[in-house]
């Protein structure tokens, strides 16, 4: 009897030891959370708040209600983040892609946060369709693929673009636009083939791909820190126009659809032209563009009576406080948008003062103003305009508590815009 009692006690103790209440986090964490074994509780893999680092590869769009949308890569997690600006100016973020699909249980306590998934989101490029639904093209650095995230009422749908060949990474430098039917168009570099390509999706989900330029061994792969060397615009007649840097020669080129097919033109022979390119649809529905030139200036080109007309939007040379001429690269991280007055605004990094400047091209003096002097700011600039608003966004660099350089997303309102044009990174 005594022995039976002792056996029962042992079984009871063992059962107690194996019960769920004795396992870290109770042995289970819901989807989107992980078990922090030190704190013995489930914590979200991603916070509700926006990440500390936000604003890299920024892209902006304004919906029909005037709400500002943004997409960005965050280095905090290596994720694609899409968000909106709340009426009170606060930001609301959605970690769209990059969270780990499966988190080991229990999560190794010695592994420092954050819990990384795939590294995705560089060259994020955002557009809103007629229903104000966001579509984002971006690069998946982990797999070397181009992805498309699209949201409908059911949530986000993420897909990797099919590729004709399977011989190398593709998707760097992505630039995205929607045609009038809401179908995506994406321009991007194909690393293995060393080509600039254009992908079009048609109703039914069928994709078509077209080689725009490249295919030469001398085209180097796009550097992982390259900003935006390609800009894609769909004009008012649903024709695609690309402004891009020839990776081999350093020339600035455009490519566009003509009745005979895709044609290419060299706008600036370079070398060293178009390290930064920005473009937007002008009030007439044509592509206008700005780019950094070899001499350090920012050049602007727009359609005038069927021909491109060039102006120097910003000279690399400017007088300092004592009136002496000094030179610094102008036009880096440029973004372009039009106001209702038909005048283009270009947001750029002031490379000397590390401030954000906006130049308004008025056909005469082209005044440039400092939009934000609390630098270092002016990186990954993006702009969008809709009806009465021109909005701009920029990355302000700062060091966090652990000494890392992080982007702080700063958003701005620029007076003078009451038009219908839009800016598309």
């Amino acid at each position: 009897m005594k022995a039976l009692a002792l056996l029962a006690l042992l079984i009871s103790a063992a059962a107690a030891a194996c019960s769920s209440s004795a396992l870290p986090c109770g042995g289970f964490c819901p989807t989107g959370e992980y078990c922090n074994s030190e704190e013995n509780r489930c914590l979200p893999i991603r916070p509700d708040a926006c990440p500390e680092d936000l604003g890299r590869y920024l892209s902006l769009a304004i919906d029909s209600g005037g709400r500002l949308w943004f997409s960005s890569y965050t280095e905090s997690y290596g994720d694609l983040v899409v968000g909106v600006e709340n009426p009170d100016g606060t930001l609301q973020c959605d970690y769209v892609d990059g969270r780990p699909a499966q988190v080991p249980y229990p999560f190794p306590s010695q592994t420092p946060p954050p819990i990384q998934g795939d590294d995705v989101g560089r060259w994020s490029s955002l557009a809103l369709d007629a229903g104000d639904r966001p579509h984002v093209a971006y690069f998946d650095s982990t797999h070397g693929t181009l992805k498309l995230a699209e949201r409908d009422d059911a949530g986000w749908h993420i897909a990797t673009l099919p590729e004709i060949e399977d011989d190398g990474g593709f998707g760097r430098g992505a630039s995205f636009a929607l045609d009038s039917a809401g179908q995506p168009r994406v321009a991007y570099y194909h690393d293995a083939r060393r080509e600039l390509r254009l992908a079009r999706r048609f109703a039914g989900g069928r994709w078509e791909f077209e080689v725009v330029d490249g295919g030469s061994e001398v085209w180097p792969a796009l550097a992982i820190d390259a900003a935006r060397p390609i800009r894609l615009i769909v004009d008012s007649r649903d024709r695609e126009w690309l402004a891009y840097r020839d990776q081999a020669s350093g020339a600035l080129k455009i490519a566009g659809q003509e009745p005979s097919g895709l044609s290419r033109w060299e706008l600036d022979p370079g070398p060293d032209a178009g390290a930064f390119v920005c473009a937007a649809r002008d009030p007439a529905g044509n592509m206008a563009l700005a780019y950094t030139a070899r001499d350090g200036s920012l050049r602007y080109a727009a359609n005038r009576s069927g021909a491109l007309q060039f102006v120097t939007a910003l000279s690399g040379w400017a007088a300092d406080e004592s009136g002496r001429l000094r030179q610094a690269p102008a036009g880096q991280h440029c973004a372009l948008a039009f106001g209702s007055d038909g005048r283009p605004r270009i947001a750029v990094l002031d490379a000397a003062r590390l401030a954000l400047r906006v130049v308004t091209l008025d056909g005469a003096k082209n005044p440039a103003e400092t939009l934000d002097a609390e630098g270092p700011v002016g990186f990954f600039n993006a702009m969008a305009s809709r009806e009465s608003e021109i909005r701009a966004g920029s990355c302000r660099l700062q060091r966090n508590a652990s000494g890392q350089l992080v982007c702080q997303l700063r958003l701005y309102r620029i007076p003078g815009g009451t038009g219908k044009g839009g800016a598309t990174p």
Partner: protein, 495 residues
Amino acid sequence: MRFLFVIWLALAACELQPSGCEPVGSDPQVPSPSMGEAAAEYFIPRPSLVELGPAAQRLLAEAGSGSLCLTLPPIEGTSGDLDFRVDGSRLCQPLKTLSVGPQSRRLEVAAEFDTLDSSLMVAIHPGDPVKTCQLRIRLPSTRLRVDLEPAAGEPRLVPAAEAIWEAGGAEVSLSDRCPLPAPGDLTGEVVQRIESALAEAARPTAEALIDGIQKAAGLAGTARGAWTGPASDGRLDFALLPAANGLTLDDAGLHLLFSGGFYGSPSACAPIDLLPWPPASSAPLWDFSPAGGQSFALGVSLDPALAAQALGEALRAGLLCRPAVQGMTLPLDDLLPSLFGSFADPAARVAIWPGGPVTVSLLPSRPESPIRFSVGFQKLELDVFARLLGGEARILALDVDVAAELALDPNATAPRFSLAEETATRIEIRHSALLSEGAGDLRTRAAALIQRLAGLAVAELSPLPWEAPEVGRGSRMAMEARKGRLVFFFDAYRP
């Protein structure tokens, strides 16, 4: 003649520019206040004047000139019942030797043109097919003698008297079996034409030889240049001209003085309050005996004030401005590791803006030791750009005063400057961003950055292009600093 070593001093900044400074057309007006009376000086010692002959002969050969060339017109005539025709031709006796001998205040020039054997075709009519004969011509060697002396009030050599030609008679004959019944009619006329052509060719041939000798001696002309800097608004001009009464030929040798200077218009990237630099002003050296006593073919002395004027005017014209797009690349990952090599590329790009005057002086030299220049920049502005996030961002801006000593090794085969010493005497940090290094620490690191930059700047200077006149084209060379002037010695070319 070119004073490339002087231009080199002025355009050291251009060597530092990947794209160089832009040459432009020189201004024909030379502002006399900018010109030093004895900016440079040439001297060929009397024993080396004989080198002018072979030196001039080399120059003439390179130019494809110097031969005694006779132009014979076509000759037509009748011999018996036959007509003949000889096409026009050019007969050249190559220059065999050219010698120059020093006389009292004169140069005796002797040239010998080699014997020429040639043949021309004589067409004879009527006949079917046309008959031809060979006309053989032999021109024996021809000699020229002329004495040269300095022209009055002009820096050139002119004949002291009429040139003397010694030419043997031409020998002309027709080939055997030539059917011309009276060949003497033709050969006689050819001899006559040759004598006439020789009389015509004598003067230009003598002038070509004299011109070659002047070029070999460095008397032939002026050196001019003009450049603009990266801002394209300023301009630097350079002129070096033989002085009107600067040519002397005496028992010591041949001596030539040059007036020269740098001048131009200011650039907006340069300090606003800089006045034009004074010209070179030291007295010519005259006595060129080298310290080592070695013989030489050509001595050159330069007023270092010319180098100072070159740098000062280059600075004023904006040639020393080096914008970011052409900035010098400098690895900084060890000096500023909080940014470079971690969040930015390891190398920075440094833009340079002279914000104050520059000084240059020749330091006293010791025998066998390198020639040393003292160079000082006041308020040199440096902009340090980091490559991050795909672009260039200015993360550091400094104002510094820099004093440096540059050494020119006289024993080097291809002499070039080296940085002997560098001191940043004042460092002011005007702008700093994204760097975690503290202020005091940053100042120390900035001093190291400046030292590294100075070393790189001097290392990027190419070796001095020694382009002396042909008489001093030899490979051996010596340099000295003497009586406040920089002296170079060149040897004759020995193939």
